[in-house]
Amino acid sequence: MSQFTGFGVEVELKDGKVISGKVAKANSKSLTLSDVVFSDGGVSQVFKVKASRLRDLKVVSTPRKE
């Protein structure tokens, strides 16, 4: 679903971890983020998380128009 691409999100997993990044891909099964920062300080280019592991999601920024 391209309509969500680029939105900055903060997701909380069911195990309590918090991950933030930009939406690269989203469908009913999983969410793929880019430029990811984990709550323990780790970073990653891409991160894919199953929808079933998500507890909460917050949109924190809109795609930059550049």
Partner: protein, 275 residues
């Protein structure tokens, strides 16, 4: 139980009796520091003259109309002991109005929720519209002054709306104006002045119309005082506020859609700070 007092003001015997009463109320019993300059003493004379027009004159229609000038002259003639200056009342009043021009003024640009309208007031002795505003008092900070003056003029308490970082400042003819930017004030509130004989009208005005009138031909519009010189920063502020609002709307829309798509249930998420 409180003592029942008579109401001598409702039926004053003469102008002199009324003025004597006012001298006691407003002037004679002031602390010594309030007699330290002509200007400070005249503030009390001014208060007394307002009380005269707002109350005594209304209860006793046969008394003469008096502006501050004749009022001051009368008072000094009646009780010369209160006047220790060499200045005559007339000159002193000129000094007084000169001094008042140097007192900083605080006010508020009040917008409705959608930023389409701005609340302006028109004074009784003025033909132009402007923000509710007023002069700062002794030892008063900017925000408190703004809240007090706005409450006096339109009976609306801005305490929960004002942001001390959001303001426009201007110096016009040596006088410092600081107008705070406020939005989200309910449009259907019953605005009315708390003080008498100061504010004639309070109205919501279309912000777009004001901008057009104000800057259209490069000539300042006499009908809007102070608003004119602040049109640009006001417009910019409204624009940025609207943008933030649109962005917030977009964010919450996308958030909702994403949650539906990914199957995140709302009851899991307790998120304070969001409605």
């Amino acid at each position: 139980m409180s003592l029942p007092l008579r109401r001598p003001l409702e039926n004053v015997a003469s102008l002199d009796r009324a003025l004597e009463d006012l001298i006691v109320r407003f002037i004679i019993n002031c602390p010594a520091e309030d007699f330290s300059s002509v200007e400070r003493e005249l503030f009390h004379v001014e208060e007394a003259s307002w009380f005269y027009t707002d109350f005594i004159k209304l209860m006793n229609p046969n008394l003469p109309n008096m502006k501050i000038k004749s009022f001051a002259q009368h008072v000094i003639k009646l009780c010369p002991l209160i006047w220790k200056w060499d200045d005559r009342a007339e000159q002193a009043l000129q000094k007084f109005s000169q001094y008042k021009k140097s007192i900083p003024v605080r006010g508020a640009a009040i917008f409705n929720k959608s930023f389409s309208k701005i609340l302006l007031v028109k004074g009784t002795e003025s033909d132009s519209w402007s923000f509710p505003r007023g002069k700062i008092s002794k030892d008063e900070n900017d925000v408190d002054c703004c809240i007090r003056e706005v409450l006096e003029e339109i009976n609306f308490d801005l305490t929960d709306y004002i942001d001390e970082e959001q303001f426009i400042e201007r110096n016009i003819q040596g006088k410092n104006y600081k107008i705070f930017l406020v939005s989200g004030v309910p449009q259907d509130f019953d605005f009315k002045p708390r003080v008498r004989n100061e504010i004639e009208k309070i109205e919501w005005r279309e912000f777009k119309k004001i901008t057009r009138n104000g800057s259209g031909n490069g000539k300042p519009n006499a009908r809007y005082y102070l608003v004119n010189s602040m049109i640009r920063p006001l417009t910019l502020w409204v624009k940025s506020k609207k943008q933030v609002e649109n962005e917030d709307q977009l964010k919450s829309q996308v958030e909702e859609q994403l949650k539906v798509l990914l199957g995140i249930k709302k009851e899991d998420a307790v998120d304070p700070g969001r409605e």
